[in-house]
């Protein structure tokens, strides 16, 4: 906070009011409702509800499909993080070397970042449909690819669809990270170490650690939440419900299944996950301050 401030009886509330009002109605009210839902059991016909304690939580923990979704979400976020991180890093290192036409190269790699996941999904759909899909037929010829039936193939489908756009995000942050490394450090390291590859792993990559760590969190958050549009436009959970993320499952159970209690409990479980991720992130920010 500032040392010099305005002292006023009411104007500060005038400035705070619009945001607080919107947050109160459109954020706090639904959150409170989520907690209420999570701890009540709805009558199947919607006639009444009663306090249910942790029954909804016990129910989702005993539900095998919840664990399927949990497993998929974890695998999905790890694989996406790995793929998009390594390709993004590779492209950023290349872009950092380019001298002429740097901006064109950059623009070509950055633009998918701005495209909506749902649009990416619809597009991926054309490449993986049985009728038109180039990739479907290519993979089908190679090993009998069929995501309509095979879980592993469905994973490949949603992983490719989910990674394409996220490579750009990784590229943007890695490039910024590379450009922040001081020229003198690089010059000194060139004198000490002739091998490009060894220099990258011993000098450049350790200096990129803060960026890498930050991107891991960004990618995990992306795979958890933003991929909703991708799942809903590609597999819709197919073959059975093996490619449903946690967010997607909560949506299906709440909207299609009208099971508010279960959806509420699932939302709260995800809030706990987000809380952990955020605590991690804050740790990272603190770490960065000490580093500087």
């Amino acid at each position: 906070m500032k040392k010099v401030q305005f002292k006023s009886n009411y104007s500060q509330y005038f400035f705070l009011a619009p945001q607080l009002l919107i947050l109160l109605i459109f954020l706090y009210w639904p959150i409170i409702q989520t907690f209420k839902d999570a701890f009540t059991m709805q009558d199947a016909f919607g006639f009444g509800s009663q306090f249910a304690g942790f029954d909804n939580f016990l129910f989702i923990f005993s539900d095998p499909s919840y664990f399927t979704a949990f497993k998929f979400t974890i695998i999905y976020s790890l694989v996406i993080t790995l793929i998009t991180g390594s390709i993004g890093l590779l492209l950023a290192v290349q872009a950092n070397k380019v001298i002429h036409g740097k901006n064109v190269y950059k623009t070509l790699l950055i633009w998918p970042y701005a495209i909506a996941p749902a649009v990416v999904g619809v597009m991926a759909n054309y490449f993986f449909s049985e009728r038109y899909g180039l990739l479907y037929h290519l993979f089908n010829n190679l090993w009998g690819f069929n995501w309509y039936k095979d879980v592993f193939d469905a994973y490949i489908y949603v992983i490719i669809a989910g990674s394409w756009k996220q490579i750009s995000a990784n590229f943007i942050f890695f490039l910024a990270g590379l450009q922040a490394i001081q020229k003198t450090v690089i010059e000194a390291s060139i004198i000490d170490c002739k091998s490009n590859i060894r220099r990258f792993w011993t000098i450049t990559f350790p200096l990129l650690m803060p960026t890498t760590f930050f991107l891991i969190i960004i990618n995990i958050t992306y795979a958890f939440f933003d991929t909703f549009g991708i799942i809903d436009t590609t597999t819709i959970g197919a073959p059975g419900s093996e490619t449903k993320t946690l967010v997607y499952k909560a949506y299906i159970d709440g909207f299609k299944g009208l099971d508010l209690g279960s959806a509420g409990a699932q939302s709260i479980m995800m809030m706990i996950i987000v809380l952990f991720i955020t605590i991690f992130q804050f740790r990272y920010i603190e770490g960065k301050i000490h580093y500087n």
């Binding site: 305005f6 104007s11 705070l16 607080l20 959150i31 180039l134 549009g229 959806a263 509420g264």
Partner: protein, 253 residues
């Protein structure tokens, strides 16, 4: 990265009949004008009530609404937090920032029920307000204000400037680049919304581009053309306002 988009674009310039018999195309056809104008102006949707043109209009209203509302409320709220002595400042601070933990996806079901209680289903307000309920921009403006030297306020106070004038005459002009960056970022964020418009619009009149993509009916080349068109606004922003947009990304993360 551009290849898949190119293939869809090239395919969108062929007739549906050609696509259906020959599959996706790598080279351009000659139905470009015909396909794109048909998609833009012919009514489609389940009830044949909406054109792609109207969906673009809806998406823009929604995206501009979200961007404007979040920039204005966040700019003000950050000012209130940084430049005033407030009772319970810590509580208000946490009340605002804890909201970062709860993305819309986690409160979607109750949000929908509340919106229908408030009669906001199938309205622009219903599309805009819950997405604007975010403190990301507040966090960022707060950081920026804190980096402004205290002397500015001291000088303004000596001149007897009121808090309102200080905000309008000093802080807003100083934050111009930041405002533009956040606005552009929030515009793309709003334009790209999928789940919320999907459940908030039971009437085709309020369909947006990104959600309409999946639901829209039409021949295959119509759908290709619509996918390509849906990418144009964010891609234009990336190409022409790249610096500001990237600044927005960095601030918001």
């Amino acid at each position: 990265m551009i290849i898949p988009v190119w293939i869809i674009f090239a395919s969108s310039t062929h007739s549906s009949l050609f696509i259906n018999t020959n599959g996706l195309q790598f080279f351009l056809g000659d139905n470009f004008v015909e396909n794109y104008s048909r998609v833009l102006f012919k009514k489609s949707g389940f009830f044949k009530e909406i054109t792609a043109f109207k969906m673009f209009f809806n998406s823009f209203v929604m995206a501009i609404g979200i961007a404007t509302l979040s920039v204005v409320t966040s700019l003000m709220a950050a000012y209130g937090l940084v430049y005033f002595k407030i009772k319970y400042a810590t509580i208000i601070f946490w009340l605002i920032f804890i909201t970062l933990l709860v993305p819309l996806e986690l409160r979607i079901m109750p949000s929908y029920i509340i919106m229908s209680k408030l009669n906001l289903v199938n309205t622009f307000a219903g599309l805009i307000l819950p997405i604007s309920a975010s403190a990301i921009a507040t966090f960022f403006f707060r950081q920026f204000y804190k980096s402004i030297p205290d002397e500015l306020l001291e000088a303004a106070k000596l001149d007897g400037t009121s808090s309102w004038r200080f905000f309008i005459d000093f802080l807003v002009p100083l934050s111009k680049t930041m405002i533009a960056a956040v606005f552009i970022f929030m515009f793309v964020f709003g334009y790209n919304q999928y789940l919320w418009p999907l459940i908030m619009t039971t009437s085709e009149q309020y369909w947006t581009v990104v959600m309409g993509l999946k639901t829209m009916y039409g021949s295959i080349s119509d759908r290709f053309a619509f996918v390509i068109m849906s990418m144009i606004p964010p891609v234009i922003i990336i190409v022409f306002l790249q610096k500001l947009f990237i600044q927005g990304i960095f601030q918001s993360k």
